[in-house]
């Protein structure tokens, strides 16, 4: 129940896009067609679902103050917290790289739809943001929570980009003032969309 609650919260209420603006660059750039938006969304769901729990493990067993105690008493006073950024981003980059290679080798079909997006994802801030937010949670997450959080944050991100792509496909036919075309109107659109998503703000389940 608690996990379902967390999942729903992360999809709708703490939406990566509309609440935190994470991953905006690819959100804006790759939302012209529903099909591609969906592909990118799936890639984000996958990578977030893998890297958040992975980074949770690293935080728990390597980075936290005293986390290295499992190596022996000598290590219990070490605090590697300042390495957080570099470790997290390396993990993400590595996972993305490995996934890309694995998909390319084992499932060319999937690679066709997902593969092209993977390199983009290493620098998608929603991935690193997901990991950093996960660490900042109070009370701290356990592994299951971290996994659910990663997956559902990804789903929330996907929902947002697919919805935006739907609207943008519809807007192909509209007559937007020339200076606003492209990026400008998309910003305004995202603003209005996030008003809609505000309805979830304050939801208590």
């Amino acid at each position: 129940m608690d996990l379902i609650n967390l999942g729903i919260r992360s999809i709708f209420i703490d939406n990566m896009i509309f609440a935190y603006f994470l991953g905006m660059c690819s959100f804006l750039a790759i939302s012209k067609k529903v099909k591609t938006a969906f592909g990118l969304g799936m890639a984000v769901v996958f990578v977030l679902g893998v890297t958040v729990p992975l980074n949770w493990l690293i935080q728990e067993y390597v980075l936290n103050p005293g986390a290295l105690a499992w190596l022996g008493a000598d290590f219990s006073s070490i605090d590697l917290g300042f390495l957080q950024f570099i470790v997290f981003i390396s993990v993400i980059a590595a996972v993305v790289q490995l996934t890309e290679m694995a998909i390319e080798k084992f499932s060319p079909a999937l690679y066709g739809t997902l593969g092209i997006f993977l390199p983009l994802i290493a620098v998608n801030c929603s991935i690193l943001g997901g990991a950093l937010f996960m660490v900042g949670k109070n009370p701290p997450f356990n592994l299951a929570q971290a996994t659910v959080y990663g997956l559902s944050s990804g789903i929330g991100w996907m929902l947002a980009i697919v919805a935006l792509a739907g609207v943008r496909e519809k807007m192909k036919y509209s007559n937007v003032p020339a200076p606003l075309r492209g990026l400008g109107i998309t910003f305004i659109l995202v603003g209005l969309m996030s008003l809609g998503f505000l309805s979830f703000l304050g939801f208590s389940l």
Binding site: F21, C25, V123, L180, G184, L195
Partner: protein
Amino acid sequence: MSEVAELVKEEKKAEPLFSKKNRKLISNPLDSDNPITVQVLGICSALAVTTQMVPALFMAGSLLFVTVFSNLFISLMRNTIPSRIRIIVQLAVVSLWVIMVDQLLKAYAYDVWKQLSVFVGLIITNCIVMGRLEAFAMGNKPWPSLLDGLGNGLGYGLILLLVAFFRELLGGGALFGFKVFEAIGIKYQGNGLMLLPAGACIIVGIIIWVQRSLNGYREAH
């Protein structure tokens, strides 16, 4: 390193430090080639940290610092990085500088550091930094790279501060925490929308509208 220094020296001879071309490296990103409003990079933080001027200023400063030095470093190393692993190397270099900024802020400006929360860390994945490294520093000499970093950092900061200006002024009737409207004797009712994410998006949209109306930039449809 000496070789590189040589190169820098040579270049100095070849053209003045602030030649027209080099000045362009700084001025273009301010308007016609602005990283946020034209190149669509680094938007996440532009929206998230701009409810007030103070954090926006710190954020702009941090990013400026990171872009300048990352650009410089990558440019210095550009001939020694194997292209296969260049993304990792770039990320590592950027992370180093970000960690440095993060620790500095934590030590000297704790309140702001708290306010900025994960967004300092997210400079690592800020596309401006990565984008400039890929697009410029990898193929240019250190001095222009530094200038390019400076220009883009400033261009980013400009938009950030502009957004924060409107959001704080319209949202709270204040600037840098100073109650402007009260000071001149006007009772101002803060506009809550401006403080919400939606307000930030819409303000960026309007800034783009105005900017492109003025400079004539149009996106291909």
